[in-house]
């Protein structure tokens, strides 16, 4: 068993904010950290190993225990429903999940269709509204779907609303606020409790 605490980090936009937060919490991360293309980066001085994953996959690595802890968006946790501890709201990468579509349109009565990267969240949301919808799973550029007539609505994350606006879409409902969370594997939470408690403490002082 390696003594390094393995931490799964989301690549891309959240990564930069997460690294900044870790530095603020007093972790000495080497400067080349920011633009490395490596997928695994060890920082032995801090007892940490970073693995760089697709944001959507962070909770999966943590659930299976190949990463002890991770930083994952609440959107990912809602969609994936992984068995991990959600210990801290890091309050970074703020955005929200919303329903959007072309202005002044209604959902199709017979077969309302919703395109999304979050099929699980979308289905659960519409079910709670008492509506059964047909979900079309897309992997990106979700805004296309209503414009070219693939779906009536989309469910996607919105941060500034600019993308929606530029594509002539409007927001209909807000589903849930999203920030990044500090997640922990249930076994690591017990076996590496001191390392993890320490990290939680340091992080919670700076969020």
């Amino acid at each position: 068993m390696s003594n390094l605490l393995t931490i799964a980090m989301p690549k891309g936009r959240i990564f930069i904010e997460a690294v900044e937060l870790l530095r603020k919490a007093g972790y000495q991360l080497p400067p080349e950290f920011d633009d490395s293309r490596k997928l695994i980066i060890d920082v032995p001085e801090e007892g940490l190993r970073f693995i760089l994953a697709k944001p959507m996959d962070v909770a999966t690595y943590v659930e299976h225990g190949v990463a002890d802890v991770g930083i994952a968006g609440k959107d990912v946790l809602l969609e994936e429903e992984r068995d991990v501890y959600e210990l801290l709201d890091l309050k970074i990468s703020y955005c929200y999940l919303a329903v959007a579509g072309l202005p002044d349109t209604k959902m199709n009565d017979v077969a309302p269709r919703v395109a999304t990267k979050y099929p699980h969240v979308a289905e659960a949301y519409f079910r709670e509204q008492g509506e059964q919808v047909e979900i079309i799973k897309l992997n990106g550029s979700i805004e296309l779907a209503p414009i070219i007539g693939l779906s009536d609505r989309i469910v996607d994350i919105v941060s500034t609303g600019r993308t929606l606006k530029e594509n002539g879409l409007v927001e209909y409902e807000r589903i849930k606020d999203v920030t990044s969370r500090f997640v922990v594997n249930p076994v690591s939470y017990r076996i590496k409790d001191q390392q993890i408690d320490d990290m939680v403490k340091r992080l919670s002082e700076v969020v």
């Binding site: 659930e63 594997n185 249930p186 017990r190 076996i191």
Partner: protein, 390 residues
């Protein structure tokens, strides 16, 4: 429906090939031996049980049950755990004399998988149930036996975390007044969503001291000292009782001399709804899922008997992963023979078998690639033609 390829198996089903089988067998017999030494008697129950009885009594989610219909139209399930079938047998047969009963099992259980790999739908559990024995000594015995059998299986580093189903509940009732109002908190705790739990606590109209207590619950894990902390935040008798029980259990565990593997954790809540007292999970550092779990339960009531029991179940697949599939020594001998010296070869094999030495008899004309075949054995003897070869 797409056409199936010949090599495909239903989702979550796995083969056990000879090498793994051998390791598994070794681990199983080491554990079983320990259980037998402690006086636990092995039993078997059927693979199929009625959905209405055992299926309903088990704590496994409905969508995880494999269901079939029998000829009369009753729904039957592939057993999803062993605790419920054992409760059924015990309540209907074994508890008539109202004495403590110690049972053990190793059996495959079935839980349907919807999602992805890494989770078998059929896996072996090995475990014990100490029935109709309500003392803390019994709880301690089961935990000590779990530790002892894991050690015997060859697991060097592991931890057992013990909690109590009553503590969190009583704390919620003490602060919120009713069980109903505690539902949200219980759900957050169960879902391991501490962010949601904290937000919910802050939104409640409570005194700051009560809020602090609810938040402190999340930190109650560690050594003996957490019992003191737990006692500080609980005020009602049932909750206090839970702590006293755990304190006594700690003494029992110390008397067994296994406290090095034990910690406390009041945040453990189980999906096993039948637990009624202590509960515990076992972790090995290199496996991301618990390798075993257990606790005190009163499941026999569902089968018409008032009795409680404590038991544990170890997941064989997780345990083997924790043991890193420890390589077994290959000590099989191969005797190649030809027709002329066949009788001699058979006699040699018989004497080896007599001494407990594994020996394969192989007609030399039956193997095309002799080099590759020979590599599979620790030693070889050739009894071929007119003279003996090494």
């Amino acid at each position: 429906m797409s056409r199936l390829f010949m090599f495909e198996k239903p989702l979550g089903m796995r083969d056990t090939l000879p090498e793994l089988f051998e390791v598994k067998h070794q681990v199983r017999s080491n554990m079983a031996e320990t259980m037998k030494l402690w006086g636990y008697q092995f039993i078997e129950t059927p693979t199929l049980e009625y959905y209405e009885t055992v299926g309903a009594a088990s704590a496994i989610a409905d969508q995880q049950l494999f269901k079939l219909l029998d000829k009369e139209g009753h729904t039957v399930v592939l057993r999803p755990d062993m605790t419920a079938p054992i409760a059924r047998v015990a309540a209907s047969k074994l508890l008539n004399e109202d004495l403590p009963v110690r049972l053990a099992y190793s059996a495959n259980v079935f839980r349907a998988q919807q999602r992805e790999g890494g989770r078998p739908a059929e896996f072996e559990q090995i475990g014990v149930e100490c029935l109709n024995e309500e003392t803390v000594s019994c709880d301690g015995e089961v935990i000590a036996l779990l530790i002892s059998s894991l050690k015997k299986a060859g697991l060097a580093e592991f931890q057992v975390s013990i909690g109590h189903v009553g503590f969190a509940n009583e704390l919620f009732v003490q602060i919120l007044g009713t069980n109903g109002r505690a539902t949200a908190l219980r759900k957050f705790l169960f879902e391991k969503n501490y962010v949601g739990y904290r937000e919910h606590v802050h939104s409640l109209p409570l005194s700051s001291i009560d809020k602090k207590r609810l938040l402190q619950l999340l930190e109650l894990r560690g050594g003996e000292e957490v019992m003191g902390l737990a006692l500080d935040i609980i005020e009602n008798d049932k909750g206090k009782q839970a702590i006293l029980e755990l304190k006594e259990l700690w003494d029992v565990i110390k008397d067994y001399g296994v406290e090095g593997n034990v910690k406390f954790d009041f945040t453990i809540v189980s999906h096993m709804s039948y637990y009624s007292g202590i509960l515990f999970e076992a972790y090995a550092g290199n496996v991301g899922f618990p390798i075993g779990n257990g606790g005190r339960y009163s499941l026999m009531e569902k089968f018409g008997k008032t009795a409680s029991a404590t038991g544990f179940a170890v997941r064989m697949d997780m345990l083997l992963e924790a043991l890193q599939g420890g390589q077994l020594e290959n000590n099989t001998h191969c005797i190649f023979f030809s027709q002329e010296r066949r009788k001699e070869a058979f006699a040699l094999a018989a004497s080896m078998h007599e001494q407990g030495q594994k020996a394969v008899l192989q007609d030399i004309t039956g193997v095309r690639n002799l080099d590759a075949f020979t590599k599979r054995f620790a030693e070889t003897t050739y009894l071929i033609g007119g003279r003996a070869n090494e």
